[in-house]
Symmetry: C2
Subunit: 397 residues, 2 copies
Amino acid sequence: MESFRLINLQKKKSKLVIGLMSGTSLDGVDCVLCSIKNSAFKTEVKQINFITHPFPNRLKEILLENSIPHKGNVTDITKLNFLLSFVYVDAIKKLIRKSKINMKEIDLIGSHGQTIQHLPGKEKYFNYKFGSTLQIGDPSIIAKLTGVTTIGDFRTGDMALGGEGAPLVPYFDYIMLMSKKNNRALLNVGGISNITILKKNGKPNDILAFDTGPGNILIDSLSKKMFNADYDKDGEFAEKGNINEKLMKDLIRKDNFILSKPPKSTGREYYNEKFIQPLLNKFNRLPRYDLVATITNFTAYAVYRNYELFVKNKVKIDKLYVSGGGARNKFLLKQLQYYFGKSVKVFNIEKIGISSDAKEAICFAVLANETISGNPSNLPKVTGAKRKTILGKICLP
Amino acid sequence: MESFRLINLQKKKSKLVIGLMSGTSLDGVDCVLCSIKNSAFKTEVKQINFITHPFPNRLKEILLENSIPHKGNVTDITKLNFLLSFVYVDAIKKLIRKSKINMKEIDLIGSHGQTIQHLPGKEKYFNYKFGSTLQIGDPSIIAKLTGVTTIGDFRTGDMALGGEGAPLVPYFDYIMLMSKKNNRALLNVGGISNITILKKNGKPNDILAFDTGPGNILIDSLSKKMFNADYDKDGEFAEKGNINEKLMKDLIRKDNFILSKPPKSTGREYYNEKFIQPLLNKFNRLPRYDLVATITNFTAYAVYRNYELFVKNKVKIDKLYVSGGGARNKFLLKQLQYYFGKSVKVFNIEKIGISSDAKEAICFAVLANETISGNPSNLPKVTGAKRKTILGKICLP
């Protein structure tokens, strides 16, 4: 009988697991193959192969249209939910070919899906008060087309219990990256930036983690507008500019996410055209390099300001490890080091043996392994959920 | 470890299962409690209690807005996906209270969800050709809030394999209602009508099943427009009218679903305002009772015409059992008997011991039991899928 498949999977000491992450940048899906031994604190992960599979042309635009609050439409969303899974399956097949292994050898797939709306703030709707979120890229389609058990939709379960459904990476950070010697901060700079603070030898209740605000989302948007580039490669545009103090002040005044208390999470619903365009109109005489430099500096500032407000008096961090696309932005790293000062060393996360690009995809491979192992993997103190719970929906092939 | 929960569930001979169905009528959720023994052909179901839990005021309108092709928006859909689950959980709690049992005694929940878009026709989108569907009312929210393992999203897996994801009820009909003596047809008249033809002692490949066209969807819409009633109670409006032959002709000419070959499925995407309003404009002098009588007759005609075109030369049915809200429409039953003639007896399905109202909800309780038992429950010949597969996503509490 079929559910013995799950038991056999659970019993298997070492598994080949694929992790999929498609983030707020909307330009492709990160796809990692790794071997995972054991679970929870005993988890050992070895990255075997990693690819970023680009989305087809024009998909980003259509996803964007369907991510704007109160925009999009049911037909697009229905079709995109299927389409993305087909794209994910293509990514998986490409990774498998590149790795010269057979799909049948894969034990498990963990897929984050594509967030097209994240509304963590609890609002009244009819007689209920709740936050909500929507990830598309149906995991059962992935399971049926690959023949591999797939876990997806990790966020809804936590939100059902009153949590924000985010961030989920801190659990991974906690079981994989906590140090016995140093207070570590893990900063992932994807579209949005999120930080995890791991007190040395800490307990789950010691973990602080939340979104700090923009990641590459504003930098990418400016790079597009000003240079018709998808992003600021290595921070080169920013490097050529000067930080404009007046624009910095306006950005800080405009932002009301940085000051809001954790647990908190954000997304394109907040950091979008409406956020940036009025300031661009006002500062339209500023050299475009200065605009990118200033917005990159603001991104670093947002991280530090959050640290100052919500972390520093509880945990003084020793080291800050940066991952995600933003880890390659040298100007951003420089500004982070500037804000955090001499007492905190800023590194690319590769320093501690994790691929900066693959980190989030690895996280969803590990979270899938936790689900199949029967381990709850939300951190209630971090997400605000009422209790620990096993995340994700199990989809049989 | 948690997945032993599934094994224990699988091993349990008799389970208390709740089935949830919210259909195209968009006015509430049918919620049944039953005990289920064994699985597949050995399945024994005993209905313990049944309720229809009405949706909150105004929810129907918002669901309707978000079901119209190319309408709706991502924020509403995201919130409705959560909201519906809360409403479902309220329905479950009400049923539990009424049944005087404890939630902890419930073993399993099967939930169909609310279809807000069903696009079974394969169309090219980017470089992929596929049909798609979207059910909302997230099953993992139901699992977390009830503490009961929940299976939902039964249609996507079949569609991933090229099927229409519908109809799913024929599998239930096949394992539960096939006769050794008679060729049976099971007709469910919900918003849409679907029929299952069970040849006596048939094999899965003998089953014919498909949507025949409108169920109550056009009758309800006319009852609203003409009498400000939610539906035509017992067919009383129709009973007072005469069938108008000219309108019948126009309806038949207008409809291009009836003539299309199975496998086929339809929904509000086709039978909606655009379908009916031009004819109402043309026939605006007809007495309103005649309009309802004619549209009800057309609904019966659609069933029979499908039988004539796609069934009769393969299986000559002996008995037709009607379920769903339409089974209470006496005029509809009379017209069905008229079209099918003396050789076919038309009954309410209660005649063979199944509650007419609860049938679809029971079906999803049984389908959840099939999933947890590891049994594939799509019928590839009926849905058009490439292969049999286990349906649904498993959501742990």
